[in-house]
Symmetry: C3
Subunit: 130 residues, 3 copies
Amino acid sequence: MPFLRFDVIEGWSDADLQKLLDVTHEVLVETLHVPTRDRYQVVHRHPRSCVIALDTGLGIARTDRLVILQLTSRPRQKASKLEFYRVLAERLSSACGIAPTDLVINFVINDDEDWSFGLGRAQFMTGELH
Amino acid sequence: MPFLRFDVIEGWSDADLQKLLDVTHEVLVETLHVPTRDRYQVVHRHPRSCVIALDTGLGIARTDRLVILQLTSRPRQKASKLEFYRVLAERLSSACGIAPTDLVINFVINDDEDWSFGLGRAQFMTGELH
Amino acid sequence: MPFLRFDVIEGWSDADLQKLLDVTHEVLVETLHVPTRDRYQVVHRHPRSCVIALDTGLGIARTDRLVILQLTSRPRQKASKLEFYRVLAERLSSACGIAPTDLVINFVINDDEDWSFGLGRAQFMTGELH
């Protein structure tokens, strides 16, 4: 169920983008323990002038391969989120060549009643999902 | 006030898109009881490769007419949200030919102080809106 | 840390867009007291048909220079948010010629553990940021 919105700067090949989505989902399944088919991802490709990401004074340099990832999810344990950040940075580096300095992530938290996966039903409320 | 962000796959005609927005707003007014002019909608049209929606194991097949709808709203009663999911799926099917299997919805909840509708004012705080 | 997502209608020059982003960040620093390098901004430019913003009955007329701004942030004082709305409307008017009637803003609130600014770390948790 997390819904993932990626913002990247144009210039990615379709293959690289697909790999980014695949690896991110793989890490999501591993660290947040969601079902394999719990995959909802959207990518926005922006002109360079439409994305600004500095570093809050942390001394982190960004490149045009920057990935800003916003996840909307029902509540998750703090430890799971920290694990997700850590493993995603490692895996995107090793599998996609994306620098850990190019990954900015935030979660937006909602509740079980805030989701409908289709058919006009709220599947966490009907008991179809837990 | 809910702010609605639609993500769809490119290929929609302007007329079909307009109908999607109109019908969704009509259902919002009916089920969440917002004022008629309480309408804030944005649509993102994506290449096919930039949208992935599986089914969390629910056995729901998606097509390229998929609609992912994210609503940001102040708190709403659970019953109103469930009604919104149900009626929207029915109405988009009957009025727009969109399959109920092609509709994924989530709400993000904020608070009254989190809204300014113009003029630099927070209209829920000033008493201009309730 | 606030992450800012702007939705505008296409037709802006790059220079005007840059000015919008610069002035908004300047006001954010002044009113929410974030560090100067705490800047994360993304802009979506939409065809006219993909953006609808009415007025919730407030009698506010919109033009094609409409700016819809959604900020994701950890909790902020109500007074700071109200100040942000007010000063942003004034400053965009005086510095960018954007009418205060063309500015719609909402905040989405999350928590310290919901942010990673890079390197796979949650910098509010590690103590690198407060």
